[in-house]
């Protein structure tokens, strides 16, 4: 069985807030659900499948189904950090293909900026079997991505300036997004002269920390046929867990080496066919490695590939993250997979900002990287087409 053509992304919504003082996590989930259903032209009572991840408060789907007043016959709370929502889109398509639901709702909400529940949904890392062998060295999100950048530089000669081009491209796009946290265009010089926060990454190699959320509504073809919005069809997906493999460590690649080929094979397309990509951009190195691993360039040549504006819409060959991405726009709940799918749908609908809309955008890819690039992470690739 395949999910190719079995489901459509009918509704999207990105919460406009970037700082949600005085609003509960549950309410943000409800607000984005309402927004995505309105976008699709559907109602709450149409929903018969519900998907959420570790950011959902309380008992996850049990609490949220109650709060939202849903009556799902299918639920999925797959938790793979920021990549969860890319996986949810694929799992929703699987569930629809299997006849388990017809209207699937996926929600995300997070408040790391104003101080809500911690990222990770309150899971206790002390439960993890690696905890006693890693925690004493104080690993952080930041240094566990930086350590990958260091090794990539060593093996392939990648430079700080090449990494900086990823941020430059994101900032070129963010200037057109009124909701973006960082709207100022930056230069390579500004990125590499910003303070080193964890060698070799600079402050401007890092994404923003923002509150907010987002939602998707994914529907069966017969539902999509009744709706008025431009149609976006899911045609392929892949998912993978990458880790340190019992100590046989290689942090020069991500799980995209597995999730990418699976998604391309299912979709029956190749990287050169893709018109637009949403690539998880927790840090500049995340984008560079992911593009290599998905096959958009040869392994080790990501630095050259992203340089000189190649990721800027209207300038380069592979426009990416035209909303400004996590690097400049929004990284709600420290979980960027949701906004990656949302901007890809905007592009396929032709509803991105006119200054960054990719011409004739009929095929797009969204990729999520959740967790820690330098130890263990989830990779999820989703390929969509304009129907």
């Amino acid at each position: 069985m395949t999910i190719k053509g079995k489901a459509y992304i009918a509704g999207i919504y990105e919460h406009p807030t970037r700082k949600a003082d005085g609003i509960s996590l549950a309410q943000i989930h409800a607000d984005v659900a309402r927004g995505a259903l309105a976008d699709a032209g559907l109602s709450r009572d149409d929903v018969d499948g519900y998907f959420c991840a570790g950011d959902a408060p309380g008992l996850g789907p049990m609490s949220m189904v109650e709060y939202l007043g849903l009556k799902p016959r299918h639920v999925d709370s797959t938790e793979t950090g920021g990549s969860s929502y890319v996986i949810h889109a694929a799992h929703a398509a699987e569930a629809i293909a299997a006849g388990k639901c017809k209207v699937a709702l996926v929600t995300l909400a997070g408040k790391p900026r104003s101080g809500g529940a911690p990222p990770g949904g309150g899971r206790k890392p002390v439960d993890s079997p690696d905890f006693a062998f890693e925690a004493p060295f104080k690993p952080t999100v930041l240094n566990l991505y930086a350590i990958c950048a260091r090794r990539h530089m060593h093996e392939f000669g990648t430079t700080a300036e090449q990494l900086a081009w990823v941020k430059v491209a994101a900032s070129q796009h963010a200037q057109h997004n009124p909701h973006a946290m960082l709207r100022d265009v930056v230069t390579v010089e500004q990125v590499v002269s910003s303070p080193i926060v964890a060698d070799p990454l600079h402050r401007l190699d890092c994404c923003v920390i923002s509150d907010g959320g987002g939602a998707l509504v994914i529907v069966a073809p017969e539902i999509a046929a009744t709706l008025k919005r431009p149609k976006v069809r899911i045609i392929g997906a892949g998912e993978a867990m990458k880790n340190v493999n019992g100590g046989l460590v290689d942090i020069t690649y991500s799980g995209a080496v597995w999730s990418g080929p699976a998604a391309f094979a299912e979709a029956g397309v190749k990287p050169a066919d893709i018109k637009y990509v949403s690539i998880y951009d927790s840090f500049t190195i995340t984008v560079l490695m992911t593009l290599e691993d998905l096959g958009f360039c040869e392994k080790g040549k990501g630095g050259r590939f992203v340089a000189d504006g190649n990721l800027i819409s209207g300038v380069g060959k592979l426009p990416f993250n035209t909303d400004g991405g996590g690097l400049c726009n929004n990284h709600p709940g420290n979980r960027g997979g949701m906004t990656k799918v949302i901007e890809a749908v905007r592009q396929l609908r032709g509803e991105a900002h006119p200054a960054v809309q990719v011409k004739n955008c009929d095929l797009a890819l969204a990729h999520g990287t959740g967790g820690f690039l330098g130890t263990r992470h989830g990779s999820a690739t989703l390929i969509m087409e304009r129907a």
Binding site: P129, E134, K138, A198, P200, G247, L248
Partner: protein
Amino acid sequence: MADKKTGTPVADIALQPYWDAAARGKLLIKHCQACGRNHYYPRPLCPHCFSDKTEWLETSGEGTIYSWSVERRASPPYSIAYVTLPEGVSLLTSIVDCDFDNLSVGQKVTLAFEQRDGQPTPVFRPV
């Protein structure tokens, strides 16, 4: 395993030889008699072949920096690194007693132990 409230290690019979050796300044990894491969962090079942025929292997204490970073915002700043052992596995660790500005991939380091979070913890220092 670790206590859910305090984060401190609690008894795990399978790992007791590791902690006993660490207290004596020795770093143990696991060797699998079935597939011949080593692994770290140690587990009763080999993550490579899933055999339960694993045994403890004492490491030489030598190592090479595979990659590293320094958390510059911390006070004081600290290093985090992967060090590759001659026994074939790499482990997450810290490089101590060093000038952070002179760390490099491929640098030779040697094992030391520090008491961290109430447990003897393997760290490395430049040779």
